[in-house]
Subunit: 245 residues, 2 copies
DNA sequence: CTAATTTGTCTATTGATATAGATAACTATA
DNA sequence: TATAGTTATCTATATCAATAGACAAATTAG
């Protein structure tokens, strides 16, 4: 099961090994709150030099995943991944209930712009009509767990940025526009390396992977009201897709 | 909108830029069947040396995404990403209808093993009971689009590997066990770098990203029948999550 | 045909990555 | 206290990654 490591890949060995260790923690191969195998054993396991393993460990120590203690060993700190549910009733706050004590959406900035083809199609409006663009960050217990760009039809939702800034909730903001309930219509999902903006906004280390969703929310009678692109740090969040609910 | 590139990240600049170009093609910033901006322009756009851009382009040429022609330019070949639908009625073959002319599941190997905790919980059986493990690759028009490991309760589905090898379809194989319909109960989703096995099985270039789903299928009355971990190449497949259907 | 544009190739230099070996510092335990 | 096991630090070397500049080769525009 110990598949090997790729050389000359554009991804450095220490980064690949750091990823493997993270994976090992997630799958339970490396138990939380206990010691990792010694550096020499890891080096042999992955087929690399001990110093390369040390680079990987150093990165994970920097990330707060591991703690190294001279003479004793390197220990896995406890840090569970959040499970973010996606379904017909996807909502940021309620989705993380039980996993976090506090969560909210911070409004980073807002602006208006003409709708490009993709946004116009998603919202069912004319290409070039004005849309409101919100840049937001989802936070839970003080940690960034998502980074989203959201578009609304400016005609219908004028002033929604004010409501967002005040309430910290999309659901609450939409109530002010007479929308008491809405559904997730569709979600497109992909993944990529975090770019510099993601790194800054989500407090990630270079080389991290982000899950990217493009989603459309609709009213109960099917009218599109919201289009969003959301980025989730793959090392801290996994998405739980449920057919029902 | 042109967010910059991360240095000293463990991920080389040329790999990051190759990812950005792939992203640009996916979002339509770089149109298919037409020329990319000149190397000098890309170098300026991303803030790197021309030779670094050339390394990225070389990797994508190798991957079959671009074609470089001396004196003319570098062209984006047409290769749309497959959209793989995930919902209550997720099925490999029907999901790709209309996007491909041919698709099937190839059985790479099969074996039996005792169920670990995760598999036992998913299938609702006792930990340590025997399960059948299938290693499969989904292929569409001759290209690998998924790589899955699937577990079935050995007691109930004895011999399913033979049916899989013959039919190339999970749905057809389950019919032989009296299951004419089934539903996707839940899906957990994450992403990581492709490991050496993924690279070989999915015919990927080093540094590629794979989407990983862990899913449980159940009968109409809710009995779990199948647990699977599937890997999709993020550069060739995106997942389309639909609430309905 | 000429000039401009664009990709291809070459040399050179610097810094990051990876390997190798030796030794120090620290911890736990017999 | 002595020893084994572990992480920390140091030197050294080779290769990869990135930058820089110059020029060749092919194509297109005028």
């Amino acid at each position: 099961m110990a598949s090997s490591i790729e050389r000359r890949s554009g991804v450095s060995l220490w980064r690949q090994i750091a990823d493997r260790i993270l994976q090992g923690i997630a799958t339970g191969d490396f138990a939380e709150n206990s010691a990792l195998p010694p550096e020499m054993a890891l080096a042999e396991l992955y087929g690399v030099n001990r110093h390369t393993v040390r680079s990987a460990i150093a990165a994970l120590v920097q990330e707060g995943v591991l703690r190294a203690e001279q003479g004793r060993g390197t220990f896995v700190l406890s840090r569970k991944r959040l499970s973010y549910p996606i379904g017909a009733r996807t909502r940021f706050s309620t989705g993380l209930q039980g996993q976090t004590t506090e969560r909210h959406i911070a409004l980073l900035s807002s602006s208006t712009e003409p709708a490009n083809r993709r946004i116009a199609e998603a919202l069912g409006i004319a290409r070039g009509s004005t849309v409101i663009r919100l840049e937001t960050r989802g936070e839970a217990d003080g940690h960034a767990v998502s980074r989203a760009t959201t578009w609304f039809d400016a005609k219908r939702f004028a002033g929604i940025e004010t409501a967002m800034a005040e309430t910290g909730s999309i659901t609450a903001s939409l109530k002010g526009f007479g929308i008491n309930d809405y559904l997730r219509h569709s979600t497109m999902l992909s993944a990529r390396h975090a770019d510099a903006d993601d790194l800054a906004d989500l407090d990630l280390q270079p080389g991290a992977i982000v899950l990217v969703t493009m989603s459309v929310n609709v009213t109960l009678d099917g009218q599109p009201i919201q289009f969003a692109e959301s980025r989730f740090p793959a090392e801290r969040v996994e998405l739980k897709l449920s057919a029902n609910d």
